[in-house]
Symmetry: C2
Subunit: 463 residues, 2 copies
């Protein structure tokens, strides 16, 4: 690799800012990669000249990976062509079915996890893919460069870089919650030590919320006896991009369509992936209790759930999706009639439509059982046009920033959530306006640039 | 109630030391009540003149309840006839399906718990039954008497007694683990406060292990801002009773029957209820990995699982039992042949047979995902006749007392458990004998009388 390709700032994450598809003429066409990380970090990196190393996910990505770094909007993308069997172990078994479940408290402990021979094989795959990332970063990075390593997929990268390239300043950032010691004890001892040692080898470890940072520090102290530098820096919404979408013709069309369905009714909105941590079932159950307790609301409110499938390769997610669809159907059978559909369940991943729903929401429900941050809770107040009320789980990382002006809920408390939604629908205009304005200010307080600046500030040389 | 019936020592627990059945002649015949509490506390109370207030569980119990206190072996039993619908809410919904799951970390959080209208009704039932216990104790107890309140079923009794009878010295003892704050946050706020306030109103709260006591203190501090006196006192095996059973003719017959089945092979034994916290599935999966990894053991070892159904009124337990039976069958299909059955699955609740298996065990597997104490881990070493090796989960409360001489396992680690069982089977005679002797001494170190004495010592007047 030529000297000119060496860089002062490297970003590494499983999913990158560009996703490639073969166009009709056979050329590779870049589109925008999905996920909250890309939405938050992409705009901030524009113009920095950074290099972003990411896994090649699609077939188009893998073809693009062969061609070396790709110029994007003021930064470069280096896609890594990773061996498929190891990538599946890394992504499906360890990242999604183990670490994600562990960090979000989703294990049904009587049955899962099972750290058996098969899992130990998958851990080797996780190691190998992390090693490939570390190798790519080591090759790309100029002496003394800063490396921002994003999320739990790449937990072993800081450790490997510390031995291969001790000159680098490495920051690891978790987008997930971090579990208390009781949770972390579940991992096999050697795995737990390897994971924590690697993270502790970073110059600093970042989290979206104080609570996750504190849990991480307690785990480091218990497992390693040392606590690395830790910082708290919640991600922010890229307001320019969001406003552009909100003002787009597609969004207007979607809003008109939604308005036609609502016919002037109040609407409770949720926008989520169909993910076990998002707590879709209890959201519907709470709505059911609300309609039961409040005959006056029947026919006068709609629950619009814009929720799209994710991780359908894992049976847990297929089962959960079926439960979600079944419950929405039962609510419509129980309460609906020819002139009113109480639940609008929309399974299409359609960003302009989601933004249209956020604009129109009278109530925005964000009730995860646990969530690293939750950007939807910030996007909603930024685009909402009706002084919508935020009903917010206290288990979301964004609670730190928004709780003061939201109606808080314990996500396991179905009755409490029903009452919160009822109170939100009933809220007087004056209080709605006041809270909505305060929420908007709180959500706009930080920018993606602030978030990036916090990470760069945390990147000090290792002692 | 006459003055002579007032007592200086009162015990309260859901399940009591006597269970009544109508005999063939129509008279009520008392038998021994089940459960670890009765086995530990019953012998120690003999001769104290205490009164034990317990729920009337069976139809025979309810008939016996009408007749006032019943004289037992040196103490009295007062059965409470409790209204069946409230008892079901108290026992099935709140105690077994909520608090038990919470304290053992068994919730599948994407789906359970659901604190809905139905659950809130059940909480009223839990309150009402606790109130009935408090009322009975208040009636029975002499001025300044000591009251020992046992287990999580009766969490609200200390609070109610504190206001009704501030003269009493109340000790609450948890037989379960106690969760970290992350776990306790799941409860509805008002319920959590009510529960913790009541427990903190006791003169002292007892636990089997340091870890649960520390978690309770942290929760008190967070929820209430105060920490009541807390003590750690692990329950002990009533050695006299156990030795009597071990020496009984029935036990000898069972041992002979088992020996015939084993035909001289080594045996791994487990004795448990079919309970989600007991980790039966991973125990079998580990055995499967052991047989896979160690061809030399095939045909030469048997896994005798003496596990009996419990709480079959809850669908979670029916499903778990089916999984356990299915997995045992699959292992026998995979590995067994005409001359060797690798898994002996015995679903009968037969105490002499369980003791016979503990006598014969070459390896005793105690691998719960979480357990307040686990008395089987102490019973095994006390009666074992082959220098059996204890493979012990570090998530059991008894870990504090026995870990030094056991082979420890992370209960989620199937491969680690397989390796531990292999190492236990392979252990050289000298080391086996040394460990078995040390385990026996550790298990015999404390008696039920010591345990009772700790509780009485903790019963100081409220400040």
């Amino acid at each position: 690799m030529a000297e000119s390709q060496l860089n002062q700032l490297i970003v590494a994450s499983n999913r990158g800012p560009l996703a490639f598809e073969r166009g009709p003429s056979g050329t590779l066409v870049p589109g925008r990669g999905g996920g909250g990380l890309v939405a938050s970090l992409g705009p901030a990196l524009a113009g920095t000249g950074a290099t972003w190393a990411a896994g090649a996910i699609s077939r188009g990505d893998r073809q693009a990976a062969g061609g070396g770094p790709i110029e994007a909007e003021g930064f470069r993308v280096q896609l890594l062509d990773l061996p498929a069997p190891q990538y599946r172990q890394f992504y499906n078994v360890v990242s999604n079915a183990t670490l994600w479940f562990l960090y979000h408290g989703l294990f049904d402990h009587a049955r899962r996890p099972r750290f058996d021979k098969h899992w130990r094989g998958a851990w080797e795959g996780y190691r190998a893919i992390n090693s490939r990332f570390a190798e790519a970063v080591a090759t790309l990075a100029a002496p003394g460069a800063t490396v921002l390593i994003h999320d739990f997929h790449l937990s072993l990268v800081p450790g490997e870089l510390a031995s291969r390239r001790p000159d680098l300043r490495t920051v690891h950032f978790h987008h997930t919650p971090f579990p208390a010691l009781d949770g972390l004890r579940v991992l096999p001892d050697a795995v737990r030590s390897e994971l924590m040692s690697s993270l502790a080898a970073a110059s600093a470890c970042g989290f979206h919320a104080r609570r996750w940072a504190a849990a991480f520090e307690a785990c480091c102290d218990d497992v390693l006896g040392v606590v690395p530098p830790v910082f708290v820096s919640p991600a922010a919404v890229g307001a320019t991009e969001l406003e552009k979408t909100a003002a787009s013709e597609r969004c207007e069309t979607e809003l008109a369509g939604l308005e036609e369905q609502l016919a002037g009714r109040q609407v409770i909105v949720r926008v989520d992936r169909i993910e076990l941590s998002k707590n879709l079932l209890r959201g519907f159950l709470a709505y059911d209790e609300l309609l039961e307790a409040r005959p006056d609301l029947r026919g006068r409110v709609v629950f619009a759930a814009l929720v799209y499938p994710t991780r359908q390769g894992l049976p847990e997610y297929q089962a959960y999706r079926q439960e979600v669809e079944g419950l929405a159907r039962r609510l419509n059978q129980r309460w609906g009639g020819s002139d009113w559909t109480p639940v609008l369940l929309d399974l299409e991943d359609n960003y302009p439509r989601s933004v249209a729903a956020l604009r129109r929401a009278d109530v925005l429900l964000v009730n995860p059982v646990r969530d690293g941050l939750n950007l939807v809770a910030k996007e909603g107040p930024l685009v909402n046009e009706r002084h919508g009320v935020l009903v917010l789980s206290r288990e979301a990382g964004v609670w730190d920033e928004l709780s003061q002006w939201a109606i808080g809920v314990n996500p396991f408390d179905v009755t409490g959530t029903a009452e919160a939604m009822g109170a939100a629908l009933d809220m007087a205009p004056g209080e709605r306006a006041e809270r909505a304005e305060a929420l908007r200010r709180a959500a706009a307080r930080r920018s993606p640039e602030d978030w990036l600046a916090d990470q760069l500030a945390a990147a000090r040389p290792r002692p």
